[in-house]
C-alpha cells in the first residue's frame, strides 16, 4: 500500500526547481496566449455575446499541457499565474483562480492514472478541464457580470461543446511534439 501511494505521489508531484520555474515561465506564456485569443474572440460575434470559444480552447489546452509537462505544483503555479495576471484584462479573474486550479488538479489525477499516450486519456483529461472549468466561469459570469441564469447555462454548454474536442486535439498534438523535441524529459 505504501509503495502504491508512493508511486501515485511520484506521478503527481515534481517539486524540483526546474518544474517550479518552468511552471512560472509557462504560466506567463499561458497569460500571453489568453490575452491574444481573448482579443481574437472579441472580434468574433460569439465573443461579443460573451462566449470566448478560442480563448476557452487555448485556456483548456495550456492548463493540461503545463500540468503534463511539469506536474504539480508546477501546473497549479502556472494556472494561478494566469489567473492572477488576468486581473489586468478580465474581470472574471476571481473565477479563473478556482477554474484553473480545479482544471490542473483534474489533469494531474488523470495523468497519474494513465500514461497519456491515447486519445481517450486526453479526452478524459479535457472533459474535466472543460466541464468543471467552464461551469465555474459560468457561475462567475452569473455573479460578477450579473447575466441571466438561462444565458449563463446556454453559454457554458456551448463553450464546453466547442472547447472540449478542440482542446483535446491541440493538447495531444502539442504534447507529443514537445516530447519529440527532447526539451522535456
Amino acid at each position: 500500500m505504501e509503495k502504491e501511494q508512493a508511486l501515485v505521489k511520484g506521478n503527481i508531484f515534481k517539486t524540483d526547481t526546474k518544474s517550479l520555474i518552468g511552471g512560472v515561465i509557462m504560466g506567463i506564456v499561458f497569460v500571453i496566449a489568453c490575452q491574444i485569443t481573448g482579443q481574437i474572440d472579441d472580434m468574433l460575434p460569439t465573443g461579443k455575446m460573451g462566449m470566448y470559444l478560442i480563448n476557452g480552447t487555448v485556456w483548456a489546452f495550456f492548463t493540461a499541457l503545463i500540468t503534463l509537462i511539469y506536474k504539480q505544483p508546477g501546473g497549479i503555479i502556472a494556472a494561478e499565474v494566469e489567473a492572477l495576471v488576468s486581473v489586468s484584462y478580465s474581470p472574471l479573474w476571481v473565477s479563473f483562480i478556482f477554474a484553473n486550479g480545479i482544471g490542473t488538479i483534474w489533469v494531474s489525477i488523470i495523468a497519474a492514472k494513465y500514461d497519456m499516450t491515447k486519445w481517450s486519456h486526453h479526452i478524459l483529461a479535457q472533459a474535466g478541464v472543460c466541464i468543471l472549468g467552464n461551469i465555474i466561469v459560468g457561475i462567475g459570469m452569473l455573479f460578477i457580470f450579473g447575466i441571466p441564469v438561462n444565458v449563463a447555462i446556454i453559454e457554458t454548454l456551448i463553450t464546453i461543446g466547442v472547447t472540449w474536442p478542440l482542446a483535446t486535439i491541440l493538447t495531444k498534438k502539442v504534447y507529443e511534439a514537445v516530447k519529440k523535441s527532447g526539451l522535456v524529459k
Binding site: K180, S181, G182, L183, K185
Partner: protein, 495 residues
C-alpha cells in the same frame, strides 16, 4: 601546484542513447589555471562543464561511469544547491539567467540565498559593482540592460559568491568585439588577482587565448588533447582566413534597397537610427557592422517594414514601402533572424522547410523536390523527420535559412545569423550565404565579426551612434583601421 578540478570519466550516457556523450576523459586542472575549451559542434564542451557543476547527472539525468572532484570533493556527493561553494557557472544568454528585476537584487541573489546578513551582502555587492565598473546601474531593471551589461551583471552575481572556480560557456558569443574584450579582461583580472580557477568554452572570437594558459580540445565526446596556448596556436593555426572565393556580380543599374534620409524615433523617445542614406544594388553582398545598440537592427526593421520611418523614406525593389504594399514586397525578401528559435515551430524539419509552400499553387511533386533540394543545400538531407529542437543552434540557423530561401527571395537580410554560434557553425552559415550571393541573390548581412564582413562581403557599411558613418569596399578595410579603432570596433589592431 594544488589540484582544483580532477575529471576521470570513462563514459557518460544519456537515457535512451546508445552512444556515450562523453568518454575517456582524464583531466587535472590546477588552482589558478585559466583553461580554454574548444572543439566542434556536439563535441561535448558544454557537457564537460556540466559534469563539473554536477548538473549532469543531477539536472540532466544521465549515467556517469567515473568521478569528478572539485577542491578534493567528489561532486556527486554535493547537492546542486551547495555547488556555489565550489563553482560559479555562467551561460551564453544572460537574459535567461537573471532572476531579479533590479541589478542590485540580481547581484545579491546568490548571497541572499546563503542567508548572510544584509551588511555582508551589501558590502560584497558594492565591491563587485566597483570591480566590474557597474556602480551606475545598481537600480536599473535587468530587462533594460544591453547584452554586455547583462553579461557583466550575471558574472557579478556569481563573483559575489566567492566560488574558487569559474566555469563559463561561450560567455561572449553574442557580444560585440569591444564588450567581449572588456569581459575577458575582467575574467583575466579575477583569475590573476583572486586566483580563481577559470574554465571557458571558447567562442569564435578566440579572445580567451590571450589570457588562457592551456587549451583543451574536445572531439566526439572525448578529450583529444590538452595543449599550451602556443602549441595550440601552432597546431591549429589557420594561416588563411576562411574566405568567400565565389564571384559577387553587382548590377550597378538596379537598386534593391534605398533609404532616403530614413530615421526612426521609438515611442519611448529613444533614437533608433538617424538620417540614413543607403543604397543596396542588385547582387551586392553588403555587411553592416557596428556595436550593440548602434542602430543596425532598427535599420533592418525599417527596410522590412517592421518599423515606419519617422523621417525620410524607404524603397524596396524601386517601390516606396507602404502599409499596403509591404506584404507583396516581403514575398521577394527573406529575413534570417539572430535567433532561429523565433521562427521554428513545426515538429519535423521537412514540415518546417516546406511551411511557406503550403497553399501555394504548385504540384505536390514539385513541392517535395524543392524541399529536398533545400534540405540538401543546408546540409540537412536525410533528417526530414527529426524534430528541429533536437538540432544544434547552428543547425537550427541553417534550417531557418532553408525555410527562408525555399521561397526564392531576391534579397536576403541576415541579422547577426552567426551570433551564438561557434567558428565551424558560423562558417557553414556564411558559406551558404556566399553560395546564394554567387547565384545572384542580394545579401545584407549584419554582423559583429569584422573578419566575417571583410572576407565574405564585397562592401561594408559602418553604423555608429544611430548613424551610417562609413561605406567602403570590403577589401579596403585595412585602410579604415584607424577609423574603426576610433569608434571602438577594433582594439588597435588589424584583422
Amino acid at each position: 601546484m594544488e589540484s582544483m578540478i580532477s575529471i576521470d570519466i570513462k563514459a557518460l550516457v544519456f537515457p535512451e542513447e546508445k552512444e556515450a556523450a562523453l568518454k575517456n576523459i582524464k583531466l587535472d586542472i590546477k588552482k589558478g589555471d585559466f583553461i580554454a575549451v574548444t572543439g566542434g559542434a556536439a563535441s561535448g564542451k558544454s557537457l564537460l562543464l556540466h559534469t563539473i557543476t554536477s548538473a549532469a547527472p543531477k539536472f540532466y539525468p544521465c549515467a556517469i561511469d567515473g568521478t569528478v572532484r572539485v577542491a578534493d570533493r567528489n561532486v556527486a556527493e554535493i547537492p546542486l544547491c551547495e555547488m556555489a561553494d565550489y563553482v560559479g557557472y555562467m551561460m551564453q544568454e544572460p537574459q535567461n539567467q537573471m532572476i531579479s528585476r533590479t541589478v542590485y537584487d540580481e547581484l545579491a541573489f546568490g548571497v541572499a540565498n546563503m542567508n548572510l546578513s544584509n551588511g555582508e551582502i551589501e558590502s560584497r555587492v558594492k565591491k563587485i559593482m566597483s570591480f566590474l565598473s557597474i556602480d551606475d546601474f545598481a537600480h536599473r531593471y535587468t530587462d533594460a540592460l544591453s547584452g554586455g551589461q547583462a553579461q557583466k551583471v550575471v558574472l557579478g552575481s556569481i563573483l559575489t559568491l566567492k566560488s574558487p572556480v569559474l566555469l563559463l560557456d561561450q560567455p561572449t558569443a553574442e557580444l560585440d568585439p569591444k564588450t567581449s574584450a572588456e569581459l575577458y579582461r575582467h575574467l583575466a583580472r579575477i583569475n590573476r588577482e583572486k586566483n580563481v580557477t577559470t574554465m571557458v568554452v571558447m567562442d569564435k572570437s578566440k579572445e580567451v587565448l590571450k589570457y588562457a594558459n592551456r587549451v583543451v580540445v574536445m572531439e566526439n565526446g572525448t578529450m583529444k588533447e590538452c595543449l599550451t596556448v602556443d602549441d595550440y596556436q601552432n597546431k591549429y593555426r589557420t594561416d588563411t582566413k576562411i574566405k568567400n572565393n565565389l564571384p559577387i556580380r553587382v548590377d550597378r543599374e538596379t537598386d534593391i534597397v534605398r533609404l532616403n534620409g530614413a530615421s526612426h524615433l521609438y515611442k519611448s523617445g529613444i533614437v533608433g537610427c538617424q538620417n540614413i542614406h543607403f543604397t543596396l544594388k542588385k547582387g551586392d553582398f553588403t555587411a553592416v557592422i557596428g556595436q550593440n545598440g548602434s542602430g543596425k537592427s532598427t535599420m533592418l526593421k525599417l527596410i522590412e517594414g517592421l518599423l515606419k520611418p519617422t523621417e525620410g523614406t524607404v524603397e524596396l525593389f524601386g517601390t516606396q514601402v507602404t502599409k499596403k504594399n509591404i506584404s507583396q514586397l516581403r514575398r521577394r525578401t527573406g529575413f534570417l533572424f539572430q535567433n532561429p528559435d523565433d521562427q521554428i515551430f513545426c515538429s519535423s524539419i521537412k514540415e518546417e522547410i516546406g511551411y511557406v509552400l503550403k497553399g501555394k499553387a504548385c504540384e505536390e511533386e514539385e513541392k517535395n523536390r524543392k524541399i529536398q533540394d533545400t534540405l540538401e543545400f543546408v546540409g540537412l538531407k536525410g533528417w526530414d523527420e527529426v524534430h528541429p529542437q533536437r538540432l544544434s543552434r547552428g543547425q537550427r540557423q541553417l534550417l531557418a535559412l532553408g525555410s527562408v530561401i525555399i521561397n526564392e527571395p531576391e534579397l536576403i537580410i541576415a541579422d547577426e545569423p552567426t551570433s551564438g554560434l561557434d567558428e565551424i557553425q558560423s562558417r557553414l552559415v556564411l558559406e551558404k550565404l556566399a553560395t546564394l550571393s554567387a547565384q545572384g541573390k542580394t545579401i545584407l548581412l549584419v554582423t559583429h565579426d569584422l573578419s566575417e564582413a571583410k572576407y565574405f562581403a564585397n562592401r561594408i557599411v559602418v553604423m555608429n551612434q544611430h548613424q551610417l558613418i562609413l561605406d567602403f569596399k570590403a577589401d579596403e578595410m585595412d585602410e579604415y583601421t584607424k577609423a574603426l579603432v576610433e569608434i571602438e570596433l577594433l582594439e588597435g589592431e588589424a584583422i
